[in-house]
Amino acid sequence: MANFFAMGGYAVFVWPAYAVTFLVLITAVVLSLQSYAQARKSVRQLEEEGSGTEDTR
């Protein structure tokens, strides 16, 4: 196991490369999901408000 983590002496290059990959890919997923949820929420709110004001008129 320690052998695996040592990566034949290249641990300081291999693990940062995988770490930055995970970080960037996960960030891309999280940001995309967040902005989707946000956009969906604001459209829903606007549509509800829109129909609400029409009802009261």
Binding site: Y10, F13, V20, T21, T27, V43, E47, G50
Partner: protein, 240 residues
């Protein structure tokens, strides 16, 4: 097919069906790919275990170019046919392409230090043309943000994307045209791949996984963009 997809409503309906599949494929392929490349590949006879970086570097570099081709293609369709979804696709792809390109540069630099003795080399054609690709992506995103009118922004950004497309063949052939530290192509070359199967198969799985991840995120971001435009027009209708 393309004209049918031009309708945002139909696009939203279709992408709601396709999205979960692209997401599932991405998760399965990436799990298999990461496991395979980390635990089930042998060390290279010259590079030792540093070759593990290849499995995250090559797919990122491939995606940087693939996403740019999608973006430039969509920009062309947007300019020529005024396809309403083409601009949305190009705009949604750009940040993903920039992320992949940044990853290619970072992982490449971490691979270059042990193999070439340097993290970075100014004047190296492959390295610099890849950095230029990142700057083109950032310029493209900046242009969208700088122009308020979406129609004008789409036009200006599309022109930039098409001009910048000249960098794509330069990146691909830089290893043949100039003396560079970077090795020549070992997969997309006349005569077939020169890379051993024990590396090629997990590498291709990773490339497919990255591609499906991109497709999923592209659909998600396009849906987001359409919703944001809808929100904006609802706001304007309310203000009027």
């Amino acid at each position: 097919m393309i004209t049918a997809l031009a309708n945002p409503k139909r696009f939203l309906d279709l992408s709601r069906i396709v999205s979960p599949w692209t997401c599932a494929f991405a998760v399965i392929l990436l799990c298999a790919g990461f496991y395979w490349s980390l635990f089930a590949t042998p060390p290279d006879y010259q590079q030792g275990q540093s070759v593990k970086i290849m499995f995250v570097h090559v797919p990122a570099a491939w995606m940087g170019i693939f996403v740019y081709s999608v973006m430039a293609g969509a920009s062309l369709v947007g300019l020529v046919f005024r396809h309403p979804l083409a601009d949305v696709a190009a705009k949604s792809a750009a940040p993903l392409g920039a992320a992949f390109t940044a990853l290619a540069l970072l992982t490449g630099s971490l691979w270059g230090r042990p193999m070439w003795g340097t993290y970075w080399q100014w004047g190296d054609a492959r390295l610099v043309s890849e950095l230029i690709l990142l700057f083109i992506y950032l310029g493209y995103i900046g242009l969208w943000n700088a122009i308020d009118d979406p129609v004008r922004a789409a036009k200006a950004a599309a022109v930039l994307a098409l001009v910048g497309a000249a960098d794509v063949p330069v990146i691909h052939f830089s290893v043949d045209w100039w003396n560079t530290l970077h090795q020549p192509a070992s997969i997309l070359r006349p005569g077939g791949p020169t890379i051993d199967k024990s590396f090629l198969v997990p590498l291709l799985i990773m490339i497919l996984g990255y591609t499906f991840l991109f497709l999923w995120l592209l659909l998600l971001r396009m849906q987001t963009e359409i919703l944001e435009r809808r929100a904006r027009s609802l706001m304007m209708a309310r203000g009027a």
